[in-house]
């Protein structure tokens, strides 16, 4: 693996499968009474969050702590965009404190690239979501969840539905799932698909009902109501009617098809409560898997090639 995880495109198929296998080993920890390994003892992981995201931050925090790393949480309200301390100065400060890995969430697309490639820090940089660009660990945990339910992703059909234009989850998933052999269809109103989407390694559709019966996985994306004011769609109700997943649409899915959502959900907007709480929904499991996948990423970036879980520790 590369030294940083900035984009899902940084991962070869071998890299991605190594992360998934490692996550599978680490996930077994969650079922043990003592959920802690000494793998990263003495290493420091900094969670550098320029944008509010309690879920992603605590997921990374739990992952680092279960590997016995020291964790520093640095929540910077606003960024250099709002004339506070610059990204560079923050990075230099963290570097001076001896961070081994920096997990960064930032509202500006490419901020983790700048952190990794500008000579400001020597530590590994993990992109925990940058602007409307990417969120590679989300894609890894999504792939991991699919893999646990469906086995190999080769030839599996994944429908990603919603605000693709502004979604870093969609971008990272499109790249990673393609690497893992899945066929991705992005379903969205035309206003919420980026210009140039023809060049992506995906299919696109404006018609959710046509896509659902063939899908093995349906991933719903959050749609912010603010987008309505940007004129991307006329009303929330119209959006729900055309692109929301409700019980009627769920009934057209194949028996084995799972429903995913990266959270936080807007119930009643892109997904109805009966779908979110149904047996098909793996949304809560995605959260559990998130910790395992982030443990795997931190371990592989910082710990090297030794097995994460010693065989003595695993009696089963």
């Amino acid at each position: 693996m590369k030294r940083h995880l900035l984009s899902a495109a940084d991962l070869s198929r071998d890299d991605a499968e190594l992360v998934l296998r490692t996550a599978e080993e680490l996930r077994s920890l969650a079922d043990r009474p003592i959920k802690k390994l000494p793998a990263l003892r003495g290493r420091t992981v900094v969670n550098l969050f320029f944008e509010d995201s309690t879920r992603t931050r605590i997921s990374f925090e739990a992952a680092a702590k279960r590997l016995s790393a020291d964790v520093i949480n640095f929540a910077a309200k606003g960024s250099s965009l709002s004339k506070g301390e610059s990204l560079k100065d923050t990075a230099l400060t963290l570097e001076a404190m001896g961070a081994d890995a920096v997990v960064v969430r930032h509202s500006a697309s490419g901020a983790p690239h700048r952190l990794a490639n500008s000579g400001w820090v020597r530590s590994s940089v993990v992109n925990a979501g940058d602007g409307t660009h990417e969120h590679p660990t989300q894609a890894l945990l999504d792939a991991f969840t699919m893999w646990r339910h469906l086995g190999s992703l080769d030839g599996r059909r994944v429908a990603i539905v919603g605000d693709v234009l502004h979604s870093r989850v969609a971008r990272s998933n499109a790249l990673l799932l393609r690497t893992l052999g899945a066929e991705v269809t992005l379903v969205s109103p035309p206003t919420l698909l980026p210009v140039g989407i023809e060049g992506w390694p995906v299919e696109t559709s404006y018609d959710l009902d046509a896509v659902l019966p063939k899908a093995d996985v349906v991933m719903m994306l959050r749609v912010q109501r603010e987008r309505m004011h940007g004129g991307f769609f006329p009303t929330a109700r119209e959006y729900s009617r055309r692109y929301g997943l409700d019980g009627r649409r769920m009934a057209t899915l194949q028996d084995h098809t799972i429903v995913m959502h990266p959270g936080p959900m807007v119930r009643g907007m892109e997904i109805t409560a009966d779908v979110a709480d149904s047996d098909r929904s793996v949304i809560v499991e995605q959260v559990t898997n998130g910790v395992a996948v982030r443990m795997a990423v931190l371990y592989l970036l910082l710990g090297g090639s030794e097995p994460a879980v010693s065989t003595e520790g695993l009696s089963e």
């Binding site: 250099s80 901020a111 234009l165 210009v195």
Partner: protein
């Protein structure tokens, strides 16, 4: 004043000849010039050098007053002289904005004091560049600075009625409105060229149509009111087509292209290094080809630098937080050689037309952009097209370092620049 005998210079690439520069003018041209009578003659060996009329930039940001940390009139004109320029037009987006006779006269005076090249202030079209009401264009035109070019550059005069009035009003003093063509609603938060790459990088797109729609509207307005329009920094293939169409109609529309748009493409944004962030943004390879073709066939009249200095911290940050703009004065001629002359799209006479004669005509600058002939003001640049150099950001004469060409090897070197017979650059260094 020193008299210079320039030996074996190739005027616009023609057979080598000698030039005698004395008393601010080109006094003699030819071989075996009679110089015995002159006591102090400095001889310059110009074997292998091209002599061009002093370059004229219609689009320079000198940042003074207001942002003297990025550039001053003095530092910017030093950079200009090193780039072969003898005249620059200083854009109005200073602090305070150059929207009154007082500010334009100040900039004009600072240029005269610095003495490296003539500074022609551009006046703002609207008060404070706010796009709401016309600035006192007549007062600026009548001031000592004799402003003829008006622009809200950095912002578009997007209100159609205001643009119409500006185009009409400047006819009274033979002015021209230089439009920064950017439809504001289509470019809210825009960061880079809108295309496949902007979608992948998650950077808000700046679509070509936002430029082209304004250019089309302005061409129609200029035709309707019978005025002169100049289009700043044309960046797309579609814009070239629209300007070509307007010219075919016989309308008085001129256009400029910037060196960076002739050389660089939007692929560079994939680095997320904001040294490549500029407005209008770097476009696709297809656009670059169209700009070169348009500049070659005269659809695009001139090359203008859009030299835009920024302090280090405004580029040493994340892309979205960074300022738009890049340096251009010291590298413009090299890039025109690389993109236009070396591929055979333009000869040196064409370079003189695009970088000296035409910009001087558009800006109504009488003493610049004249052919190198006996009796003309001695605004001359000597250029070595055979030299190669690697651009070093630390070596710029500009106070800022935001050159996108750092580390790049470019052809050519400005050896000497003469402003009215006085050397501002000799042997590639400020004289």
């Amino acid at each position: 004043m020193t008299t210079y005998l320039i030996k074996n210079a190739s005027i616009l690439g023609a057979e080598p000849t000698d030039l005698l520069v004395a008393d601010g003018v080109v006094e003699q041209i030819g071989s075996d010039l009679s110089v015995e009578a002159l006591s102090s003659v400095e001889t310059i060996d110009a074997q292998g050098l091209i002599a061009l009329p002093g370059l004229v930039d219609l689009h320079t940001h000198l940042r003074e007053p207001g942002r003297e940390d990025a550039e001053t009139v003095e530092s910017g004109t030093r950079a200009a002289a090193l780039g072969g320029f003898t005249a620059v037009h200083a854009m109005a987006n200073t602090e305070p904005v150059a929207d009154t006779a007082g500010v334009v006269e100040q900039v004009w005076r600072l240029g005269r004091e610095a003495g490296y090249c003539d500074v022609y202030p551009v006046g703002a079209v609207t008060v404070g560049l706010a796009g709401e009401r016309l600035a006192e264009l007549g007062a600026m035109a009548d001031s000592a600075a004799r402003v003829r070019v008006f622009s809200d550059d950095g912002k578009c005069v997007s209100d159609a009625v205001l643009m119409r009035r500006a185009l009409e009003y400047v006819k009274a003093f033979d002015g021209v409105v230089a439009q920064h063509a950017q439809e504001p609603r289509l470019t809210e938060g825009a960061q880079m060229n809108e295309g496949e790459l902007s979608g992948r990088l998650g950077l808000a797109g700046w679509p070509a149509v936002a430029e082209e729609a304004i250019i089309a509207r302005d061409c129609l307005l200029a035709a309707h009111v019978g005025s002169r329009l100049h289009v700043c920094h044309v960046s797309t293939a579609g814009s070239v087509e629209i300007v070509r169409w307007a010219k075919a109609k016989g309308w008085d529309v001129t256009a400029e292209a910037c060196p960076h748009h002739l050389l660089l493409t939007d692929e560079l944004a994939a680095t997320y290094d904001p040294i490549y962030k500029v407005n209008p943004p770097l476009r696709s390879a297809t656009d670059v080809e169209a700009l070169r073709a348009g500049l070659a066939d005269g659809t695009i009249d001139i090359v203008a630098t859009d030299h835009a200095p920024h302090p280090h911290e405004d580029k040493d940050c994340e892309w979205a937080a960074a300022a738009f703009g890049m340096l251009g004065l010291e590298t413009a001629l090299s890039i025109v050689q690389e993109t236009m002359v070396d591929p055979g799209l333009l000869d040196w006479a064409g370079v003189a037309e695009r970088m000296s004669h035409a910009p001087a005509r558009i800006g109504r600058v009488a003493d610049h952009g004249r052919p190198i002939e006996v009796g003309a003001p001695a605004n001359v640049v000597l250029y070595d097209p055979a030299a190669r150099r690697t651009v070093e950001a630390a070596e710029t004469a500009s106070l800022s370092r935001n050159t996108p060409y750092a580390g790049m090897e470019l052809p050519g070197r400005v050896v000497a620049t003469f402003l009215r017979g006085r050397a501002t650059v000799l042997d590639g260094k400020l004289a």
